[in-house]
């Protein structure tokens, strides 16, 4: 399945002559979970609001299953389900009344489907209570329920696990994965919990100052020539090893009886070879995989994350 579900084409947004989004192009395939991260004010929410039609785009286009939302809003948005910011409902209505209210805005949405979604999200017990009695976690579930009622092909989730307990987060994560894998739904998630994104997404895009500055697969190995990551060497002959690093001009730190070198992973085999040649006993070599958070902070210059 490599069909494109969502496509942003040179998307731009100008508010009060200020360019908020400076031409974002990206595409998300069917069955793919795409994470959108970026610091505060980077333009994530604006981008999401444009995808669901809450904000008008200044230039460019957004296509859902090949249909432009600009030219054919109703037909394209039919395939989109979304939670934008906090899931807010009519507080004086029950969860079920809220779901039915939104279900009526689609054609042919059966009562059975509503029940199915309610049980899927484990809301049976509270669905006939007024939403004002709901906890944030319950509202979050109801938010997901309204987003998937009409079996959308593109699901947009803004902070989907906000306010959920760890067990709930895990459930939702599994459910989103299932939607992507089994029903080939394209999922776009924005989150401030980077570890979350790392666990759930296939691919991430980092937005900063209204631009998509980086896009990568989550489990992509470090291939960048210039990228240096931390490599921990646990060795017996401490001084000798330090000598070799100096010789090779590799920066390092000493941490008790271990050496932490900053180097490209491509060089690891040659360093080990050198250690062996000089009779240095190696107990272990660990390449520390930079977490997404490190990469993110590195890319965005340590900005506060939304």
């Amino acid at each position: 399945m490599k069909d494109v579900a969502l496509q942003l084409i040179n998307l731009k947004k100008t508010i009060n002559k200020k360019e908020i989004i400076k031409g974002i192009s990206l595409q998300v395939n069917q069955g793919e979970v795409y994470g959108l991260i970026g610091p505060n004010g980077a333009g994530k929410t604006t981008t999401i609001r444009m995808i669901v039609g809450l904000m008008n785009m200044t230039d460019g286009d957004i296509k859902i299953l090949g249909q432009s939302i600009r030219l054919n809003f109703s037909d394209s948005i039919r395939n989109v389900g979304a939670i934008v910011e906090n899931p807010e409902f009519y507080p004086f209505m029950t969860g079920m009344q809220n779901l039915k209210h939104f279900a009526k805005m689609y054609d042919h949405l059966s009562e059975e489907r509503i029940k199915e979604v309610v049980s899927l999200l484990g809301l049976e017990k509270v669905i006939h209570q007024k939403v004002k009695t709901y906890s944030l976690g319950m509202r979050q579930r109801l938010g997901i329920a309204q987003a998937i009622l009409h079996k959308p092909k593109v699901l947009i989730l803004d902070e989907p696990t906000n306010g959920l307990d760890p067990a709930g987060i895990r459930e939702i994560r599994e459910y989103i994965r299932k939607l992507a894998d089994e029903e080939h739904v394209a999922v776009i998630i924005s989150s401030h919990l980077l570890s979350e994104i790392e666990l759930i997404c296939d691919r991430i895009g980092i937005i900063q100052h209204g631009e998509l500055i980086s896009e990568r697969m989550v489990d992509e190995p470090e291939v960048d020539e210039n990228h240096h990551s931390k490599v921990i060497f646990d060795v017996k002959e401490f001084e000798q090893a330090q000598g070799i690093f100096n010789e090779l001009q590799i920066p390092f730190e000493v941490d008790k009886h271990r050496l932490i070198a900053e180097m490209n992973r491509e060089k690891i085999p040659s360093v080990i070879k050198m250690f062996v040649e000089r009779d240095i006993s190696i107990f272990g070599v660990t390449a520390v995989k930079a977490s997404l958070e490190d990469q993110f902070l590195e890319l965005t210059g340590g900005n506060v994350i939304e």
Partner: protein, 320 residues
Amino acid sequence: MSKFFRLIGNELFKIFIRKSTWVMFISLAALVIFGAFLTKTLNEMNTTYSDNWREELQEENEQFEKEIAGEDGEGFVVTYNGEKIAENNYYLENDIKPLNYGAWQFTLDNAGLVSVISLFTIIIGAGIISNEYNWGTLKLLLIRPVSRTTVLFSKFTSVFVFGLIMMIFLIVFSLLTGSIFFGFEGFNPKFVISTAEGFKHVPIISELLSSYGYKVVNLIMMTTLAFMISTIFRNSSLAIGVGIFLLMGGNIIVGILSRYDWVKYILFANIDLQQYKTGNVLVEGMTLGFSVTNLIVHFIAFLIISWLVFTKRDVVATGE
């Protein structure tokens, strides 16, 4: 089209599930009952006529004339009694038995309560868009396969369906209350009214419809105005305030500006269409056609402005 009706169903559901809406209906019912009590206790002078009504009318007339003789030829009593005598004579000349006060006439007297309905409809109209902003639910409403135009017009229509329901409630409840307090005059009773061309014997129902109808003009215009204001400013209090102020004070504005000739182009100068029935026109040369055109132009302008604002606006984060 069926989707449009479903949307109206949604809107009415949201209106009627709230307690504040029921408070409106209960208040209106209370006013009707209160009015019935008042009429019952104060209007003991509303004589009931028996089969001997001809003699009763003559006795009344004699009584009225005595009272006139007691005055010095001027004043309220003279005018009032004079009118009463003329009316009584009309009954006698045309051999019509005066209709005793009952449910229909009570309902007709309650036409003034249409202003209360206007007030409630303004409140609903002012909230129907801005509440969605306040609840944060507008974004969930606009990400559906329904155009913003459809959302807007389904809401607008729902406001008037609400107004209509309240109007029907007022009429039915007044008839019921009236029947209990004063009795029921029959299904299509006729009564005598005083018009510019003298007395006429007409069916109450047609009088009822026209008298409610004239008041509905104000309801429609002020509610549409409040709807527009709340769509622009996303603030229901402002819209309610302006709507009610103009509902009550429109005449005052016209009064202040009445020395200018252009006052006739102002909306409020045209709202009272009854001026063409009584012949008491505000500015010389105004016609029914002129006023109706003026009203339609205002109505369409309010709607177009609401529509432009609502369909073009970016929906940004709540509280922004």
